[in-house]
């Protein structure tokens, strides 16, 4: 903020000098005229920034708007000093020319400063991210706690994070238990639970528990720092539509130079030298391609900034233009639409046994097994706050199940392990569950089946909403998976996806994306690990859950840092809005220039009005673009295609 205030000093002092010069010229003070001229000249001189730029551009062989402004102001100053005769009216005229020059300099400088401020605010999204990373860390060294600058922390050291503090490093929790708000990284404000072994990101907020974290990455190597760099680079990457504006602006200023000469010659022969001079100056001042040149880049920066605050990294202007045209979104299933890990979704019991009994005996038998299905059962038991005793003995038979003893009880898990007759009821139940694409695990206690644990990969909480949102935009959805047809069908039905393709090998996924691309702009959403080729083949590749994996972020065109699939719709909606804004800006800037130029050429504008028009056109485009930063995701019901 202080920098911006500093930027106002030349603007204000220029204005004050110009005002003082104009006011004093009408008074009876001795040497009023001379004082007025001096004050006004000082005012003009304060705008030196403009002239330096103008002259510098000449050295590089460029014609710039700054150069035009410099010439216009220079002409006015010389005209004010040389042209008027020594008569009384001449004096007033001199002051008139000089005051006009000072006012023009004032408006340009004020306009520049305002634009500067707005563009800074647009980039402010990034500044906010940067300020998220703490500059110091509390470290335990030789048993003593010390606070030190983050630069001096070494990898492998232990950082202590109190409740309510920001986590200063990327690392692994080695002690403690807490929830952490990772909105800085993922854009999702629901806190994530962190226990021993979990990964933490620098810049995220530790909520209620103390944590001890082993340092893995610091300063510029952290996920947050990488994201900041990525966003900065993405903001510099042009959108193709900018070529339209650039092609125009390349010729714009040279043409304006010619036009200015024509206007000068025409009005010199029609009227007189002074009229010719005034009109030429006016044309030079109104000829500002700014509005056109910045119609796109500020919008790109604002869009990418907005997305990054929502946990979406769009890697450049090109992707904004592709996103706006997406007609079909293909999702990977496992780990994308679904959680990717099997979970216990149902427990059926027989006889007098309760759900807790079934899970308890299953968990005892599975306690030392590393199988994903065993983990699902253990997780369920832990979730029901059970203490799981060790089995007396156990034996795992791969592909079959488990045979274990607990005290004098004999536990058998898995259809192939249970040799006694399974009841008709249990059998029916199991085939029904399996037809839904789930896995049924029977549990027997002392040769009697006491229950069935149903395990399945579950659909992510917001997958259904993500699909609904896309449908509201008029976008088709598809699921492509290597999994079996039954499971694919069941999941597709749960979330209402338009089409699904199952039992695909990775290269078949690539081919299917190729098929879909015929006549459609296709986006693909995956986890970036085993579906990288298919992602690369799509017009836009979304990688989800990308935080912490540099490779995933690298391969993506758009990286969703968290797991929230509804962001796919937001990225597309935002891009549509941004592109319309860019297009609108270009058209608006073009019309504005043509109108202002015509007015100037026919002498309807004076230099001061000309520069006001030019700056107003420019600033309105900048504001219009910067406003994209304030765009927010809409509730489902309000989305329209």
């Amino acid at each position: 903020m202080r920098e911006h205030v500093k930027g106002l000093i030349p603007v204000i002092s220029l204005g004050l000098f110009a005002l003082a010069g104009a006011l004093i010229s009408g008074t009876q003070v001795t040497y009023a005229h001379e004082i007025s001229i001096t004050l006004t000249l000082i005012a003009v001189a304060i705008g030196y920034h403009i002239y330096l730029h103008g002259i510098r551009s000449l050295r590089h062989g460029n014609v710039t708007a700054q150069l035009f402004a410099t010439i216009a102001i220079f002409i006015s100053v010389v005209a004010g000093l040389v042209l008027p005769s020594a008569s009384a009216t001449g004096t007033a005229e001199a002051v008139g020319y000089l005051t006009a020059a000072a006012i023009v300099a004032f408006i340009i400088l004020a306009g520049m400063t305002l634009e500067d401020y707005i563009i800074h605010r647009t980039r402010g999204a990034l500044e906010k991210l940067i300020n998220m990373s703490p500059t110091t860390a509390r470290i335990r060294r030789d048993g003593v706690e010390v606070e030190m600058p983050i630069d001096e922390v070494k990898i492998g050291e232990i950082v202590l994070v109190k409740p309510g503090d920001k986590i200063p490093v990327d690392g692994t929790v080695i002690s403690g238990h807490s929830t952490v708000n990772q909105a800085t990284i993922t854009g999702e404000s629901i806190p994530t639970e962190k226990i021993v072994g979990d990964h933490t990101f620098a810049g995220t907020l530790n909520e209620h528990g103390a944590l001890e974290i082993e340092v893995e990455k610091i300063a510029e190597d952290t996920t947050l720092a990488h994201l900041i760099q990525l966003v900065e680079e993405a903001q510099e990457k042009k959108a193709p539509i900018q070529n339209v504006a650039d092609r125009f602006t390349t010729y714009f200023l040279p043409i304006m130079a010619v036009l200015a000469s024509v206007v000068f010659a025409a009005s010199y022969f029609t009227f007189d030298f002074e009229v010719a001079l005034a009109r030429t100056v006016t044309v030079l001042l109104v000829a500002c391609p700014c509005a056109l040149s910045i119609a796109v880049p500020v919008a790109v920066a604002a869009t990418i900034g907005n997305a990054s605050m929502n946990g979406i990294i769009i890697k450049g202007g090109t992707h904004i233009e592709k996103l706006k045209d997406v007609k079909l979104v293909a999702f990977d299933k496992t780990g994308t639409l679904t959680v990717g890990e099997p979970r216990v979704v149902e427990i059926k019991t027989f006889g007098n046994y309760s759900e807790a009994d079934t899970i308890k005996y299953a968990a005892i038998a599975e306690k030392f097994s590393e199988h994903p299905l065993s983990k699902a059962i253990i997780a369920k038991a832990t979730g029901m706050s059970m203490k799981i005793p060790d089995p007396t003995d156990f034996k795992t038979i791969p592909g079959h199940g488990v045979d274990a003893h607990y005290g004098n009880k004999h536990i058998l898990i898995g259809t192939k392990m249970i040799e006694t007759e399974i009841s008709e009821e249990a059998n029916q139940l199991m085939s029904m569950v399996e037809s839904e694409g789930k896995t049924a695990i029977p549990i027997a206690l002392d040769e009697h089946v006491i229950g069935i644990v149903v395990v399945a990969d579950t659909v992510r909480e917001n997958s259904l909403e993500a699909i609904q949102r896309l449908k509201r935009l008029g976008i088709k959805t598809a699921m492509i998976t290597g999994d079996n047809m039954r499971t694919a069908k069941s999941i597709a039905e749960q979330i209402g996806i338009d089409e699904y393709h199952a039992e695909l090998l990775p290269e078949q996924k690539v081919a299917i994306i190729g098929e879909m691309k015929k006549g459609n702009v296709v986006a693909m959403v995956g986890d970036g690990v085993n579906d990288a080729p298919a992602l690369a083949n799509a017009d836009v590749g979304f990688v989800m859950g990308a935080a912490g994996s540099d490779v995933a972020v690298e391969t993506a065109d758009v990286a969703l840092l968290g797991d929230d699939l509804t962001k796919v719709e937001y990225a597309i909606s935002l891009s549509r809005k941004a592109f319309n804004r860019m297009k609108g800006n270009i058209v608006y800037a073009f019309i504005w220039n043509v109108v202002a130029l015509s007015l100037a050429a026919f002498g309807i504008l004076n230099p001061v009005l000309a520069v006001v028009l030019a700056e107003a056109g420019c600033i309105s485009v900048v504001i219009n673009s910067a406003l994209l930063l304030l765009s927010k995701p809409k509730p489902l019901a309000k989305i329209k295609g």
């Binding site: 930027g7 510098r56 520049m112 720092a225 510099e236 391609p289 420019c618």
Partner: protein, 86 residues
Amino acid sequence: MNIEKVILNASKTDCTGCRTCATDYEADNLRHAIARLNGISKVKVDEITGKVTIEYDTQRISLSKITERIEKLGYQVEILSREEIQ
């Protein structure tokens, strides 16, 4: 600590001659981006000439890493001078 001072010329090739480039924000952006790299002790960006003066610790960062960062932000980099100062 092994401090080296380098002077670079950073220019954007695609300037369209609008007044916006002349605002400080381009220079500011560049300054912040460089300053956030590890091992940078001083950065000065002259927005009029495009001249960038950087002092950095050669043990912590290489010149090529610095220029790579500047290029990634859309600039063309030309090294004007380089000297060890400490």
